[in-house]
């Protein structure tokens, strides 16, 4: 009984284990073409490429688990990026100060989203479109054209490695993963899953839906802000227009990682693996000499296939579960 219970739970945990395996496999294939990928330098490189998407998807995952949409991520990332580019310099707030500032902004936007959805009962899809557009506007106001300069210590410090062995990006991602591991097991974490799975039952069980949704959006806002901070570290400059492809990628990472877009199932680990898959895919295409404009096509196809596969997989899992349950 115990073993079957464990298997069941692993399967029910969603596509995270599967996505991780796929990610590692893809990286292995990539390494065949580009042997430097296995060096610390190479790994650091890939992680740096992935980290903005990864952290952004972490935030999005929390909201999606609670059963809501959130399109405002790219907006917050844009604001964070331009703020760091304009305030982190020597005469400004410095590395830590600008981090605190962007986190505060992210929290603010998340709170606004949360209030609109949880207290005013607006549809999250429409409401977060509004906040996204407004955020893009704010970013443009702060920095109308690409420019600004990110403090050196941020740009080099966060993109390098510690003692030549541990990439800083890995530490950061590890930190997020650990934070999620803990959060998932708090009452609030469980409440988020419950709210997304069956809001009516959650309410009758005593869960405060308003608070749960509010917290989900706030956490997402914090994550987006951090992702924007990392974007500044990666690019070293500020750009008020964040690629709109990032929104697609964030949702793709979440879906590929096995989190159900209707809520209640999945988790952050899967999204991290999903972000990894998408990043490695880009790198693989590049290493294979595929022209850049084909990447759009591949990204789209991968997304669709991932979901098709996800549907098939859950059908399979469903029937396996029935066998196990008998």
């Amino acid at each position: 009984m115990k073993i079957t219970v464990k298997i069941r739970r692993a399967l029910a945990g969603g596509g995270a284990p599967f996505a991780t395996v796929v990610c590692l496999l893809m990286y292995a294939i990539y390494a065949v073409r580009a042997p430097s990928a296995l060096s610390i330098f190479g790994i650091t490189n890939v992680l740096n490429d992935a980290i903005v998407l990864a952290i952004g998807s972490v935030g999005l995952t929390v909201v999606v688990l609670a059963g809501e949409f959130d399109l405002s991520g790219v907006g917050v990332i844009a604001i964070a990026n331009v703020l760091v580019a304009t305030t982190s310099g020597a005469t400004g707030l410095g590395a830590v100060g600008s981090l605190a500032l962007v986190l505060a902004i992210g929290l603010l936007v998340g709170t606004i989203n949360g209030v609109l959805v949880a207290l005013f009962h607006l549809q999250s899809l429409a409401a977060t479109i509004g906040t996204m557009i407004a955020c893009e506007g704010v970013a443009l106001l702060i920095l109308p054209a690409p420019g600004g300069e990110v403090a050196d210590n941020i740009a080099t410090g966060l993109t390098g490695d510690v003692a030549g062995v541990m990439p800083v990006a890995l530490l950061i991602l590890g930190g997020f993963a650990a934070a999620w591991f803990l959060f998932k097991r708090t009452s609030l974490g469980v409440a988020i899953y419950a709210t997304g799975a069956d809001a009516q039952a959650a309410r009758l069980s005593g869960i405060n839906l308003r608070r749960t949704r509010l917290v989900a959006f706030m956490l997402a806002g914090l994550c987006y802000a951090f992702a924007g901070y990392m974007l500044s570290a990666e690019t070293g400059t500020g750009d008020p227009r964040v690629s709109s492809a990032l929104l697609l990628f964030m949702y793709a990472a979440v879906a590929i990682g096995g989190t159900s877009l209707s809520g209640g199932k999945g988790g952050v680990f899967g999204s991290l693996a999903g972000a990894g898959i998408l990043t490695v895919l880009q790198k693989m295409l590049f290493a294979l000499g595929v022209a850049e404009f084909y990447t759009n096509i591949f990204n789209g196809i991968v997304m669709i296939c991932a979901l098709l596969f996800g549907n098939l997989a859950s059908l399979l899992v469903g029937s396996v579960r029935r066998q196990v349950a008998k």
Partner: protein, 320 residues
């Protein structure tokens, strides 16, 4: 008191669109006040001409949202349509005869592709349309290497700047389209079925409505509308670039929502979408006239969307 009783005497769902029309009228007055120079009639004409793209593209978005879905590929399809018509006509009128149908058919084809993925493969509309937008953008890039295309056929350009009976042609087109769209969405058999499916998909299945064919058709129509808008946009701009449709995507969603539609489907008239599209176009014009920076524009647009949503929500509405 009177407002409420008036509301009850109106046909179902007309309340929000009328309010939006009123706000639009108010904004037009504001324009007149800001720039007293030009004649009001001319200004309104100019607004209506630029509104046509949003009005047409939002029709498709409105249908997708009515079904409970969404179409995020509209911007890309518009750009592709513009590129295609420019590329095929190559600055001359000769090829128009087959270039226009070919372009529109391709756009409808993209929509059908979306619809098939959603209806048959069960892929969420959000992802399917976003992903296919990316795919077809890439295909477009591949064909054109992103370069702007040569000018569009002169007939199209004349269409967008021509006049008939003293009214600009586009305005007439606008009126004809709006009437046709309203008649379709709210007066046709298919339209009624769409409302039912959007209102309660489970019940629609039990009643035996053809959900899958209608879903594919809706996204096909959405692609078609985006295509029409793209072709007209190329004529208006006299040139085409692949990303010229991108600024229209979010406004189509905003127009539908501001017009009173429910994001989960089943509610909302085309009249509302039309009102929302006009409202946003006028708003855009004011912002341009005021020479506001892009940043301020976006902030205003975003705030207006949120406010429109807040006004729509009935107070004390319970939702889990």
């Amino acid at each position: 008191m009177t407002a409420i009783s008036l509301h009850h005497r109106l046909p179902e769902g007309w309340g929000v669109p009328l309010v939006v029309f009123a706000c639009t009228a108010f904004l037009v007055v504001v324009i007149k006040l800001i720039s007293p120079g030009s004649a009001l009639a001319q200004q309104i004409e100019a607004i209506l001409v630029t509104a046509i793209f949003l009005v047409i593209a939002s029709m498709g978005q409105g249908l997708a949202i009515l079904l409970g879905g969404i179409d995020l590929s509209i911007g890309v399809v518009m750009g592709l349509a513009g590129m295609m018509i420019s590329g095929l006509t190559n600055g001359a009128d000769a090829a128009l005869g087959w270039a226009v149908p070919a372009t529109l058919a391709s756009c409808a084809g993209i929509g059908v592709f979306n619809g098939l993925g959603i209806a048959l493969a069960g892929i969420p509309p959000f992802i399917m349309t976003l992903a296919s937008g990316s795919i077809f953008f890439g295909i477009g890039l591949g064909f054109t290497a992103g370069a702007a295309q040569r000018p569009v056929a002169p007939v199209l350009q004349k269409l967008m700047s021509g006049h008939v009976f003293g009214l600009p042609l586009p305005v007439l087109l606008l009126a004809v389209f709006a009437v046709a769209a309203m008649a379709f969405q709210n007066g046709s058999v298919e339209g009624r079925r769409l409302y039912a499916i959007g209102s309660n998909p489970k019940a629609a299945k039990i009643v035996g409505l053809p959900i899958r064919p209608l879903t594919v058709a809706v996204y096909g129509v959405s692609g078609l509308c985006a295509g029409i808008a793209g072709v007209l946009l190329a004529g208006y701009a006299s040139a085409a670039t692949l990303d010229m449709g991108d600024p229209f995507l979010m406004p189509t969603i905003a127009a539908v929502v501001i017009g009173g539609a429910r994001v989960t489907g089943g509610r909302g008239l085309y009249l509302g979408t039309f009102a929302g599209a006009l409202f946003l176009s006028v708003l855009e014009t004011i912002i341009t006239v005021l020479s506001l920076s892009q940043g301020l524009r976006d902030i205003i647009e975003g705030t207006i969307i949120v406010m429109a949503l807040l006004l729509q929500t009935a107070p004390g509405k319970r939702r889990f």
